[in-house]
Symmetry: C2
Subunit: 93 residues, 2 copies
């Protein structure tokens, strides 16, 4: 999990990014299609592409600890399918 | 543009992440739907969500400068619709 913390003194509210990616070994047809399209366009330097989602949050929460805990719960309950997907939370203070 | 560089001495090949997000002001129905679903589940701390894509590249290129230039071109030609989307490239050495 990556966590970068930046200070913004004028705003107590938090921003966060949540990355949702397929676990290793899970087939990724979207990534495969992009790979093939790039090859057809003449880009030879691509070996593999895996496609995922990024969700940019504007939170009303101002406490980083509580915000992270809430985001973890959101990931488990709705945002990620933890059988086939991994998630990571990147909190900006 | 965010660029984090990490050294992996055992591999000359590069990895990169490309983030594609909607420009400010462009309507994001996917993000809105996620927002509403989270609110229905009882998460009150979400003010806004914007949804984007992340593409994880395994490149055969080993020169960071050339790799970045190639990725820029891929974004402009195929990966991002630059009328409504922004992209950023995060290269891992």
């Amino acid at each position: 999990m990556i966590c970068r913390v930046r200070t913004q003194s004028n705003s107590p509210k938090l921003k966060a990014k949540v990355y949702i990616t397929l676990k290793r070994g899970v087939l990724d047809p979207q990534g495969k299609a992009t790979e093939q399209a790039l090859t057809r366009l003449g880009f030879r330097g691509v070996e593999e592409i895996r496609q995922g989602k990024v969700l940019e949050f504007q939170l009303s929460e101002s406490d980083p600890k509580r915000a992270r805990a809430e985001l973890e719960e959101m990931c488990k309950k709705l945002l990620a399918n933890t059988v086939i997907e991994d998630y990571s939370i990147d909190l900006d203070e």
